[in-house]
């Protein structure tokens, strides 16, 4: 029963959602939206589960003085600080236990929560994102090392696209007569991006869509049960 009930739910809900995709009339038309709302509600309650997990994992490591316990302590302190200032003075227009915190806001030009968010969190998140530029460079360096025919082709294409996206490209191939317009680097870049690149991406998307159909069907029919734990 414990195993069969989720399978029955998966079957019924899967079938209803499938039908609602093709039947716009009530009640089918509203079912998907209703289920999405339910998901949001369940998800909201589950946030608490995540917070408990976070606190427990960090407290345990700090208490056990496990390796690098200082990082877990920093995580705990940050978490507690944000929760505390959010509860006490609120955020943006929402008041906290102590109201809007006008005095503090006048002193630091924003509510404590918003201040920490804007001047600590956003720079940190931007820093993480900025790392991408360096990682792209290192990954591209490895990808463009010429080892065989494919990597040679990849490098030539990459050079064309990189150059084609700069203003330098026009100066470089501007002398090519208009009758050979396709050989202009910007034109060649657009061609590569529009046709071979789009074709390859669509092939992946179609293949993924087929995978989604197969996977969904296996779940709806109860053949695929791994996500419930256990194999068959």
């Amino acid at each position: 029963m414990k195993r069969n009930l989720p399978l029955v739910f998966a079957f019924v809900v899967g079938l209803v959602v499938f039908l609602s995709e093709f039947i716009p009339h009530n009640p089918f038309g509203q079912i998907t939206e209703t289920l999405e709302n339910w998901f949001m509600i369940v998800s909201s309650f589950a946030i608490l589960l995540g917070q408990i997990s976070l606190v427990r994992a960090n407290v345990t490591r700090v208490a056990e003085r496990s390796h690098n316990w200082q990082y877990y302590l920093a995580g705990l302190v940050s978490f507690t600080l944000m929760v505390a200032v959010g509860l006490l003075w609120g955020m943006e227009q929402t008041p906290g236990i102590f109201g809007q915190g006008e005095k503090i806001a006048a002193f630091i030009s924003a509510k404590p929560f918003d201040y920490i968010f804007e001047f600590s969190y956003i720079p940190l998140a931007s820093t993480m994102f900025a790392l991408l530029a360096f990682y792209i460079a290192s990954a591209a360096y490895r990808a463009f090392i010429i080892r065989n025919f494919e990597s040679n082709l990849l490098m030539i294409t990459a050079v064309i696209v990189i150059l084609g996206r700069t203003s330098f490209a026009t100066a470089l191939t501007g002398w090519v007569p208009a009758s050979l317009k396709l050989l202009h680097l910007p034109e060649l870049t657009d061609f590569i991006m529009q046709y071979p690149n789009t074709a390859a991406q669509r092939a992946i998307m179609i293949s993924a869509a087929l995978g989604v159909i197969g996977s969904s069907l296996r779940i709806i029919l109860g053949i695929e049960r791994s996500y419930l734990g256990g194999g068959k």
């Binding site: 716009p24 038309g29 589950a46 589960l49 993480m128 179609i206 069907l217 695929e224």
Partner: protein, 371 residues
Amino acid sequence: MKSLALVILALLICLSLAATTATQEWFKVEDAPWDDGSAVILSWQLSSRRDSLRLQKADSTGVYIDLLNEFSASGSFKESDLVHGTKYRYRLLAYSKDRSDSLALVATAVPAQQWFYMGKLSQLIILLLICAAILFYIISARRGKELFIRRISGLDSMEEAVGRATEKGKPILFIPGISDLGDIQTIAALNILNHLAFRAAEYDTALIVPCRYSMVLSAARETVKEAYLRAGRPDAYREERVFYVTDDQFGFVAGVDGIMVREQPAANFFLGAFWAESLILTETGFGTGAIQTAGTGQPHQIPFFVVSCDYTLIGEELYAASAYLSRDPQQLGSLKGHDFGKLLIIILVLVGVVMEMTQQGWFRQFLIGGY
């Protein structure tokens, strides 16, 4: 003489009728067919004397608000986001070129829900064909028919990765994507996690699963726990190794990068939905020297994975992974159904090319949802 007079009279009547028809002006509003009752179609025809028009809709207080202020002698306009069963009133105002004459036509409509999206007929047919093929191969596999499934090296590497982690005495890191449980890619990742956790339990290797969402955390814990139970090693299951990090995208990346640098896992698995963080994660993993397997249904992230990982599951392979790893004939049968889907798509593409070259527009119209 009399017959000539009759002919002339008939000709005159015809000409006058034709002239009347040419100058006939009309405006109508109809419910958009085969939809969810959220749209109406406004159409009109004006005489050549007109040179401007305004299309207006009455709001709840009866005040008319402009919808369209662009002239065309005849045309149509689809208004969406309406509520089915509600009466809507529209007005068309048209003016003559010399402003000596104007016209105001009013029409009403009540959008209604239909029982079928006719625009999705082609989708339904294709979907039913693919589902029928999958079911056919599942039934064939149940009856014991041998099915050939091509090798997926990214999945065959799982044993190698677990073995390597065991030899080095280091943990395995598994990221089930950064999407929530509502994403089928996350479900596919959890299915693979089940098999990986089973192997990890057998080899007694630590498995670390950081999660971005609480719902995924809950499902991942259940999946790993069940796998350890199935492997007969419930004592080896450590709940704290499947944990929540943060909902924030780059906060999660920072957390996972920290784990990779500190714990130095011997094998990293990045399976599920990934966006801008994909390369940050895999390059950090590459830097630690871990054997890396990645897979996603996001076409834009695949090049990043190909460059920085040892094995990459592309598109469909992510969804096929669980069936492939389970070696369950029924699930393998469903993979054979995917091949039929690919064949069907190839045929449709080829037929589409021929149809477009021969200017048979109905085929494209049918596929994109026109009827």
